[in-house]
């Protein structure tokens, strides 16, 4: 970021025109995909120009558009309009011209069809201010992975310019509900390329990615009660891991991916247990006369954060991962649920009730006595989940009578909606790095 500090500025923008165009695109029939709308006010953003890649219009995907949308949604960039300009990675762009267009960084590239049917995707990133090259890459991918190639380029740019890892090539999982049809889906982090993992006539809730990103644990009601399954998304192979008397729910993976914390009612009440990833005999983690549920491990594996109403109303507590005594974490407000922990363990996101509204809040855990910040002004927020770089949250909320998915920066300033066609979208969860 220091590279460009000289020309960074406070930029406020409202991209109504862009939103309208994107909405028009989203309204195309049979588009089982969603589009991004930016509805926030930007803070400090780096202006970047991403021109159309040479020959990208000969493929099924607009690689440069995907990169632009990724960077914009991150909240760290402002996109400089390049209209129809197009050049590839071998070009020598006139830097003075791009400086005059207020771009600090510039990206060009190409998409070439190879003899074996794959595509060679190349790009180069320039520092416009210094007039130097910042790097580039080439990769050969199948047509079906062109979006992934674009997301990886966005990741490269993001990391080069912010110093942090990008999350654009990661995946999300969520559940759609349309009438009595419930579907667990896996999509790219921008909501595109959604694929069905499970169709059911009964509800599905609480998906949780295994740390290696290969499996999803979730709760399915297909047996007329809540049962925890683990499901390999590539093969479709699935197994019930907690199907005891009563309800079985709220799976949370240990950071090593070997076990799951689950909420079971086999001994009465809703209590926390630990169970192997292939099932087996559960081990009780805590005993309380109250509801204990919604477990979440800290990524260092030391703590379990969870929701409990042991104090009379639901609050977030934490205890050592092996179980035992718990300490209360949230003190502000009388109804706090659904804890999500940032990967560095320093930020807690959760849902708080304020009057009749359920809003997303974040709490700085690294500063004692810190006050929570409410980062939305909607009233039915649910199920926050951190991106693996800890810079964005995905959550569900209600808009125009439907449940939709949103991403937001931790300060709440940049929000992107991942619209759908008809179904309600719920229970989003952001997958790990490493695809």
């Amino acid at each position: 970021m220091a590279l460009f500090s000289s020309s960074l500025s406070q930029i406020h923008f409202a991209r109504r025109g862009l939103c309208a165009a994107l909405l028009a695109l989203a309204a195309l029939p049979a588009a089982a995909q969603f589009r991004v709308e930016i509805s926030g006010v930007g803070a400090t953003q780096l202006p970047i120009a991403v021109v159309r890649f040479r020959d990208e219009d000969k493929t099924t995907q607009s690689v440069s558009s995907i990169i632009r949308a990724d960077l914009e949604r991150s909240g760290a960039f402002r996109i400089v309009d390049t209209q129809a300009t197009s050049f590839d990675e071998s070009a020598r762009p006139e830097m003075a011209q791009w400086r005059s267009r207020a771009a600090d960084a510039l990206v060009g590239g190409s998409v070439s069809r190879l003899a074996d049917g794959r595509y060679d995707v190349r790009f180069k990133l320039w520092d416009v201010v210094k007039g130097s090259e910042l790097g580039g890459q080439s990769s050969a991918v199948e047509a079906g992975d062109l979006r992934l190639a674009a997301h990886r380029i966005a990741d490269f740019i993001y990391e080069k310019l912010t110093g942090e890892k990008g999350v654009f090539s990661t995946r999300i999982a969520y559940v759609t509900r349309s009438g009595s049809r419930h579907t667990l889906r896996v999509a790219d982090a921008d909501g595109e390329n959604g694929q069905v993992a499970l169709n059911s006539g009964q509800p599905i809730i609480s998906p949780a990615w295994s740390p290696n990103g290969k499996e999803l644990a979730y709760v399915s009601f297909e047996r007329q009660k809540a049962v925890v399954f683990v499901h390999n998304v590539a093969s479709g192979e699935r197994r019930p891991v907690a199907d005891f008397r009563g309800s079985n729910s709220a799976p949370a993976w240990t950071p090593d991916g070997e076990r799951l914390a689950v909420t079971l009612s086999r001994e009465g009440g809703s209590q926390l247990y630990s169970i192997g990833k292939n099932g087996g005999e559960p081990r009780r983690l805590a005993s309380s006369p109250a509801i204990d549920t919604e477990a979440e491990y800290s990524s260092d594996g030391r703590w379990i954060y969870f929701t409990s109403d042991r104090g009379g109303a639901p609050q977030i507590y934490r205890m050592a991962a092996g179980g035992g005594g718990a300490e209360r974490v949230t003190f502000s407000g009388n109804y706090n649920i659904s804890p999500a922990l940032s990967p560095d363990g320093k930020t807690l996101a959760y849902v708080t009730r304020a009057g009749n509204a359920f809003r997303l809040a974040v709490l700085d855990l690294s500063t004692s006595g810190a006050q929570p910040q409410m980062i939305t002004d909607t009233s039915d927020d649910e199920h926050p989940s951190f991106a693996p770089n800890g810079r964005l949250l995905i959550y569900a909320t209600r808009a125009q009578g439907r449940t939709v998915l949103m991403t937001t920066t931790l300060d709440g300033k940049i929000k992107a909606r991942l619209p759908s066609q008809t179904a309600d979208l719920r229970e989003p969860v952001w997958g790990p790095y490493g695809r």
Binding site: L28, G144, N232, S235, G236, R238
Partner: protein, 182 residues
């Protein structure tokens, strides 16, 4: 673009059908599995095949629709609850008595008590609240002669509302426990 989408949908549909034919919905089976290879070959080639079956992004669809098997008897079967409460009110004593009598008369009879909540708050916290309601009804039934082994308290939380709506009238109808024969 529309044509492409149509191809994509076709590919997904084909893959879904493939899933239907190979997924067993037998509750006795501890593991339900299907061949991952089928998903790739079922989705064809070209752009559509790439999207649905490329090596790096493949998701194999599984279908478990049509497994519902709820059977309700002629007995009164719903108990409603106050907001944030799991106390079985005296108003519902006739419901509890009728079902407890049926259960104690026929010891082979089994019932699930399904707890439900209104739709405010998280899925999981509501699941736990519904579980509390179901367990309160089970306790009432056993106090009147039903046996623990005849009953299972389960919860659907807010996932299966009796009525839709974002008002107190709808919420009150959703805060309930249902007794279902199993």
């Amino acid at each position: 673009m529309n044509t492409l989408h149509r191809h994509l949908l076709t590919a997904v549909a084909v893959a879904s059908l493939a899933a239907c034919s190979s997924v067993k919905l037998d509750d006795q089976a501890p593991v339900e599995s299907r061949s991952g290879a089928n998903a790739g070959t079922g989705s064809g080639s070209g752009a559509a095949g790439g999207a649905a079956g490329s090596s790096q992004t493949r998701v194999a669809p599984v279908d478990v629709t049509g497994t519902s098997n709820v059977n309700y008897s002629n007995l009164p079967r719903v108990v409603y609850f106050d907001f944030d409460s799991y106390v079985v009110k005296d108003d519902y004593r006739p419901v509890i008595e009728a079902n407890a009598k049926a259960l104690s008369t026929n010891r082979k009879m089994k019932m699930a008590v399904e707890g439900h909540t209104d739709d405010r708050g998280s899925s999981e916290y509501n699941l736990a609240l519904g579980q509390r309601r179901a367990e309160a009804v089970v306790k009432s039934l056993t106090l009147l002669g039903a046996d623990q082994t005849q009953l299972e308290a389960v919860s659907f939380g807010k996932e299966r509302p009796a009525v839709q709506g974002e008002n107190e009238e709808a919420w009150a109808k959703n805060r309930r426990a249902e007794l279902a024969s199993r």
